[in-house]
């Protein structure tokens, strides 16, 4: 608690928070569940489940399509969810919030929209143009850009990594240059935990007139995000990592851009006038929400935003930082264990990847599961990062607002047990 007091914040009672999450009371393999796979997906509090249930039980209908009462109530709830998310992100206009099915769809939306732009338009991408990403991207913010470059003949470039898990910005000015159309990068890495210097990257992109897209899948759940202060053009989050159900994500984009970008998916709701010879398109956000949208999931996401705001994301961040520090210190103290990613809590999120000498991550994850401890093993959809650090996979523990110091200690003890078993 001292970290909170030092930061001038009210004490954070993690036990009160835990009581909102029914699953945390269960056992796994005869042990209390220690859920440290939050970077993959978070658990859901009663408040979010109740909000979704209440909506579906009392107000559900399709949206934007009817005059009857339920249709109006559902539309109101859906649009109120948009406003809540906009406020959560510090956006000036709810119309800048596009609901998608996840973060992955949001990157594809932007990449395909740019790919659909007529030659000569400010969004068009073609031979001679460049798209820049980083070597630490999640596949979802990498593969769509590779595909865009393949389709259009543009060139993909990437910012490499340093040995300590940060972006190597030495050649930033050549990697992001006058030919760069888009600089797409991750805010907080899901595999290394690194928090990237958004200001430096945005400043360079602005100098050369490149659009910026920030992958906030691992930042929005854990820290206060203000898209206007960040200065990016697009920001992406995914609901299931921030207490909401799976099936809803968000693309935030500057309204002026969204209104000018060509559509990605065509269909109902995204149109203005449809004739057999052709159609015109609605302004954003409808332009990018073809078909029946993710209605109840969006309502649930808004409830999740409310939950996080009520708790205070600055307090959540301080709580998590204390846990991350405890985990890093504990890992550093263990023989034969190395951290892959930044060694301290400086500019770092709560995802901590590590390796245990002589034990494969699969075996680590399986052995920890026998102790009720849920961690993730594999390449975490960031295979180039594993290659960069010469490991086939990592073990990753990632805490969230309901984790405790005792759970971090249980993991550290679990690692020692794993080492004893595999060293026999």
């Amino acid at each position: 608690m001292t970290a909170l007091v030092d930061a001038g914040l009210a004490p954070y009672d993690v036990e009160v928070v835990r009581a909102d999450f029914p699953v945390l009371a269960r056992t796994v393999s005869g042990h209390p569940l220690v859920y440290l796979d939050n970077a993959s997906s978070s658990q859901k509090p009663r408040q979010v489940l109740d909000a979704e249930r209440e909506f579906v039980e009392q107000h559900y209908s399709n949206v934007h399509r009817g005059v009857h009462t339920l249709s109006q109530e559902a539309t109101d709830a859906y649009e109120a969810a948009r406003t809540t998310v906009a406020t959560f992100l510090g956006a000036s206009d709810p119309h800048e919030v596009v609901f998608t099915k996840n973060a992955t769809e949001a990157y594809n939306l932007v990449a395909y929209s740019f790919g659909n732009a007529a030659a000569g338009s400010r969004f068009s991408v073609g031979p001679g143009d460049e798209v820049c990403v980083t070597e630490m991207e999640h596949h979802s913010n990498l593969v769509p850009w590779q595909m865009l470059c393949e389709r259009t003949g543009a060139t993909l470039r990437w910012i490499p990594l340093t040995d300590d898990g940060r972006l190597d910005l030495t050649d930033l000015d050549t990697l992001v240059n006058e030919r760069t159309k888009v600089l797409a990068f991750v805010h907080v890495s899901n595999i290394l935990g690194t928090e990237n210097p958004v200001d430096v990257l945005v400043a360079r992109a602005r100098e050369v007139g490149a659009f910026t897209l920030l992958d906030g899948a691992q930042s929005a759940p854990h820290q206060v995000v203000d898209v206007q202060r960040l200065g990016v053009d697009f920001f992406v989050l995914t609901g299931h990592k921030m207490l909401a159900p799976s099936g809803v994500g968000v693309l935030w984009g500057r309204k002026e851009l969204l209104d000018a970008m060509p559509p990605f998916l065509g269909g109902g709701s995204m149109i203005e006038v449809v004739q057999m010879s052709g159609s015109t398109y609605a302004p954003a956000p409808e332009r990018f929400e073809a078909g029946t949208p993710v209605i109840s999931q969006a309502v649930a996401l808004a409830a999740a935003c409310d939950y996080l705001s009520a708790l205070g994301l600055d307090r959540v961040a301080a709580h998590e930082q204390a846990l991350t520090g405890r985990l890093l210190d504990g890992l550093h103290a263990l023989d034969g264990v190395s951290v892959i990613g930044p060694a301290t809590t400086e500019s770092r999120g709560a995802a901590v990847s590590f390796a245990i000498e002589g034990v494969h991550p699969h075996d680590i994850g399986q052995s920890l599961d026998e102790l009720g401890i849920a961690v993730r093993v594999g390449h975490h959809c960031a295979a180039p990062v594993c290659r960069r650090y010469g490991v086939p996979a990592t073990t990753r523990a990632s805490s969230y607002l309901y984790n405790t110091a005792g759970e971090v200690d249980a993991l550290l003890e679990g690692i020692a047990t794993v080492q004893r078993f595999w060293r026999r």
Binding site: S29, H360, H362, Q366, S367, G378, H379, P392, R424
Partner: protein
């Protein structure tokens, strides 16, 4: 640790002291298989002579289950007729897909019966099959090449 049902002593032995590991010449076909979900990989060579699997050699990286299973596989197929080895491979595949419901035949699978427990862990079944699938692929290619080789 309570996970002995998965990590049988036989599996741990093969993991620590893998049989037939290391790439060898001569060989007919070399394949490279990966498990895209975890990054495990194996490079495997097969030599088939007169309808018999005369050698299998391999290198790779992976978890205890994938490494041990590949080691056991080499014991079971080297020196056997291709048809017979393919039948063994099918028996192992059936065991892996059994979700713990099949009683393995020790006469057929020998050390392979230690993997019966793995079939209860769907996330690990792919690990256990990595080397087997690579062997099957390489052997099928070797057989096809030798039968087509006359042309």
């Amino acid at each position: 640790m309570a996970d002995e049902s998965l990590y049988q002593e036989i599996i741990l032995d093969h993991y620590r002291n893998p049989h037939h590991k290391g790439l060898r010449d001569p060989y007919d076909v070399e394949v490279h298989h990966v498990n895209p979900t975890c990054g495990d990989e194996v490079t495997l060579r097969v030599r088939v002579a007169d309808g018999v699997v005369s050698d299998v050699s391999y290198d790779g990286q992976g978890c205890s289950i994938s490494q041990a299973s590949t080691s056991v596989m080499t014991d079971l197929v080297i020196g056997r007729a291709v048809d017979e080895a393919m039948k063994t491979s099918e028996a192992f595949l059936a065991l892996m897909q059994s979700r713990g419901q099949l009683e393995p035949d020790e006469d057929v699978l020998e050390d392979g019966i230690a993997f019966a427990g793995v079939s209860r862990y769907p996330a690990r079944v792919k690990c256990a099959l990595l080397g087997w699938m690579a062997w099957k692929d390489a052997t099928a290619q070797a057989v096809a090449a030798s039968s087509g080789g006359a042309a």
